[in-house]
């Protein structure tokens, strides 16, 4: 790929002569190595900084430089840096995005390193490690796992007459919303103090909405529609990787879209245009909305003592096809273009080691992939008085579905997210989803 044409060389040579600008490229000396490491969660940043410090203490010649980039920009940024040939040596990878990197040979195959190490994947949460193997090659070491639950404003739920126990037995269906639909209505309040069940409820003057749907959620709907649709029998495709048939135009998803749309139309959920650039946390804390679906990685933030509002978590409601919460695993991967593959692998292995996983777990923020790390996290949450049962019990009972991995994920995500956002703005769900499904299938022809 490095063919320097004479013409360009000539141009650049004369430019060199014309400008006195120093070109700055930071090449470390042979023994001192600085590894760039990327992650997206600012809350976890300090935890991994601790791991990095401990790692550097053990390996004084390797320094870890951590960069955090918000989720919304993380993947686009990573893509640009990969095309620029300046991607981070090691980065946090997510299952639904990783195949497009594999496809373009951008991830280092870690198989041999792992075989040479004493890693035993039996020590990790079941099913996580295998997901990072494609065609017999391993592209990541498991980092953590997560699942989602229903986050609710305790006062709003109590006012509406619900106990924590009742909230854990909610049902949902796309026709009338089931008992979850009732809850959403009951927690919605208009300017005159009437709730959403009141026949005189004024949907044009709502002060608190019952449910906050997440619309910027790619092709998965991990924090919202994906859970509902899946519990009504929806599956994403006939296969992972490069499927020929996708099911985004199937009945369960169309009905789910229609139900969410009706929530907006009836005033139980904020309109798409009312979404704040402030984000979910701000609208929950300002009590503009009473409930939403969010991930286990956010639990400690919402349950923290200094949170301005009392929140609780309940299992996602049970749908016609049972209770299904999206579960997902992250991994740390090495960029194929790294100048320091050995050191990068060392860091990845350290990230997956008991030392790092347990210390991250002890903070109680997330569930590390290593079983001992998850135990440490659950203990830490118990000690802090946080109730994690809404997450742990669905996981233990197997009431989860793993989010799928596709090639060309950026394009798939974009197409489906556009369709869901159009539905949020009133487009016909069947029509819009069938268009989007065709567009996605066309990508794999």
């Amino acid at each position: 790929m490095k063919k320097t044409t004479p013409l360009a060389a000539l141009g650049v040579a004369s430019l060199l002569a014309l400008t006195a600008c120093a070109s700055g490229s930071d090449e470390g000396s042979a023994d001192a190595v600085t590894l760039d490491y990327w992650l997206w969660d600012d809350i976890q940043l300090p935890l991994y900084q601790e791991c990095a410090d401990a790692f550097t203490e053990e390996n004084p010649n390797i320094t870890i430089n951590i960069t955090q980039t918000g989720w919304a920009q993380y993947w686009q940024n990573l893509s640009t840096q990969i095309t620029a040939g300046t991607a981070p040596d090691v980065f946090t990878n997510q299952i639904s995005y990783y195949l497009q990197f594999v496809q373009n040979n951008q991830l280092l195959d870690l198989t041999e390193n792992v075989e040479a190490s004493d890693i035993d994947f039996a020590d990790y949460k079941e099913g996580l490690a295998e997901r990072w193997v494609t065609d017999g090659k391993r592209y990541g070491l498991p980092k953590d796992w997560d699942t989602v639950a229903l986050l609710y404003n305790v006062e709003a739920a109590t006012e509406a007459g619900y106990t924590a126990e009742q909230l854990s037995t909610l049902t949902w269906n796309p026709e009338d919303g089931g008992t979850f639909g009732e809850l959403v209505k009951a927690m919605t309040v208009d300017g005159a103090g009437r709730d959403g069940l009141d026949p005189n409820f004024d949907k044009s003057d709502v002060v608190r909405y019952g449910y906050y749907p997440e619309w910027a959620d790619g092709a998965i709907g991990q924090n919202g529609w994906g859970n509902f649709a899946h519990s009504a029998g929806f599956t994403y495709s006939d296969d992972e990787g490069a499927p020929t048939t996708f099911n985004f135009d199937s009945e369960p998803l169309i009905e789910t879209g229609a139900w969410l749309q009706s929530l907006i139309e009836d005033g139980y959920a904020p309109g798409f245009d009312e979404q704040s650039t402030l984000g979910t946390q701000a609208v929950m804390e300002n009590q503009n909305v009473a409930s939403t679906i969010t991930g286990s990685w956010m639990a400690s933030t919402y349950l923290a003592e200094d949170a301005p509002v009392e929140f609780g978590f309940a299992m996602v409601p049970e749908g016609p096809d049972g209770r299904t919460a999206a579960t997902n695993g992250l991994a740390d991967s090495v960029w194929a273009g790294t100048e320091h593959p050995e050191e990068a692998y060392q860091w990845v292995e350290y990230l997956a080691s008991a030392d790092c996983q347990n210390s991250v777990g002890e903070a109680g923020l997330i569930f590390p992939a290593l079983d001992s790390g998850t135990e440490a996290a659950l203990e830490a949450r118990d000690a802090a008085g946080f109730d994690s049962s809404a997450f742990a019990s669905v996981a233990d009972a197997g009431e989860t579905f793993t989010i799928p991995a596709f090639e060309r994920s950026a394009e798939v995500n974009s197409a489906i997210q556009d369709a869901m956002q159009a539905i949020a703005q009133g487009a016909d769900p069947a029509e819009r989803l069938s268009e989007a499904n065709d567009a996605v299938e066309a990508l794999f022809k």
Partner: protein, 317 residues
């Protein structure tokens, strides 16, 4: 554009060159020296042109016929990218959005700027007042997008709240029907002062006698504006129009930063789509094909526009 320029070159410059040949001794030796001097003077710019305009143009055309993604070795695909492009609704949507943006933006800016300039003409504005009007033009769009994103936050933005209190709701970046309008308003806001000052400068060139004569004929101010000012500043108008047309088709920063890299489809302009295809979907070849389409469209528009405006001729000269 080039045509008008060439006419000019043909009519004016050689005449001067002829003159110099008459007065100069030893024409052939001098002319040879002149050729060498021209080469020396042209060399730096020519180098930049060849390496960073011409060569990339050739490469861009080549990419557009391949599946290049920056990470692979390109494979020749023939016209496949163009066939795909013709059937890709997102290409045409983004072109339509960009065209609406450009036309409405330019129309509003021109009308308001002309008005503002005409008012400036009546007053002897101090420099600092004019400098203030220039401020938005100096500030990078990145900062402008952030400032307006915050002013228009759907829940707590100062402007949205102000508008809500007077009964105007739905002014939100995430209201599909209003989003493009909002981007246009921001763009008008940032370009208005600059354009007004440019036009004002053009108006200053109009000789006072013409106004005096018109006033003696009893022409009203409005009539003077349309009969005297407007025709006489046509060259400036034409320049501003061409530059803002090309500029408007390149709108990107406002959308990319304003939406935190996640713009809703209603504001996905052509630049953003090309950028997305090239840098997040890894379809460099396809992105190049769309860029070629844009080159063709812009070229055609510019030629038409210059024809219509008869740009280089002012009634003044």
């Amino acid at each position: 554009m080039s045509r008008t320029m060439l006419e000019r070159t043909g009519s004016r410059a050689p005449r001067g060159a002829n003159d110099s040949r008459v007065v100069s001794p030893g024409p052939s030796r001098l002319r040879r020296a002149e050729k060498w001097a021209a080469l020396v003077l042209l060399l730096p710019a020519l180098l930049g042109f060849v390496v960073f305009y011409l060569y990339p143009t050739v490469r861009g055309v080549w990419y557009s016929m391949t599946d290049f993604n920056l990470l692979n070795d390109p494979t020749f695909l023939g016209m496949a990218n163009f066939e795909e492009l013709a059937a890709d609704p997102q290409v045409w949507d983004s072109l339509r959005i960009t065209a609406v943006f450009a036309v409405v933006n330019i129309a509003i800016v021109m009308v308001l700027a002309l008005g503002l300039a005409a008012f400036m003409q009546r007053l002897n504005l101090r420099n600092w007042v004019r400098s203030l009007l220039l401020l938005p033009w100096l500030v990078p769009n990145v900062a402008i997008a952030l400032i307006w994103g915050w002013l228009l936050d759907a829940n707590v933005g100062y402007l949205s709240q102000l508008l809500k209190s007077v009964g105007i709701s739905g002014v939100s970046f995430y209201n599909g029907d209003a989003a493009l309008g909002i981007i246009i308003v921001i763009s008008v806001w940032s370009g208005l002062g600059y354009t007004a000052l440019l036009l004002y400068a053009g108006m200053l060139q109009v000789p006072n006698e013409l106004y005096e004569a018109a006033a003696l004929d009893g022409a009203s101010e409005t009539r003077m504006f349309f009969r005297v000012t407007l025709p006489l500043i046509r060259p400036v108008l034409a320049l501003v129009l061409v530059v803002s047309l090309i500029g408007s088709f390149q709108v990107f920063d406002l959308v990319q930063v304003g939406y935190g890299n996640n713009p809703i489809p209603e504001v996905r302009v052509i630049y953003y789509y090309i950028y997305q295809q090239a840098f997040s979907f890894y379809n460099m070849g396809y992105a190049s094909a769309i860029a070629i389409l844009l080159v063709v469209i812009l070229g055609a528009l510019t030629v038409v526009q210059m024809r219509l405006m008869r740009a280089n001729r002012s009634d003044l000269s």
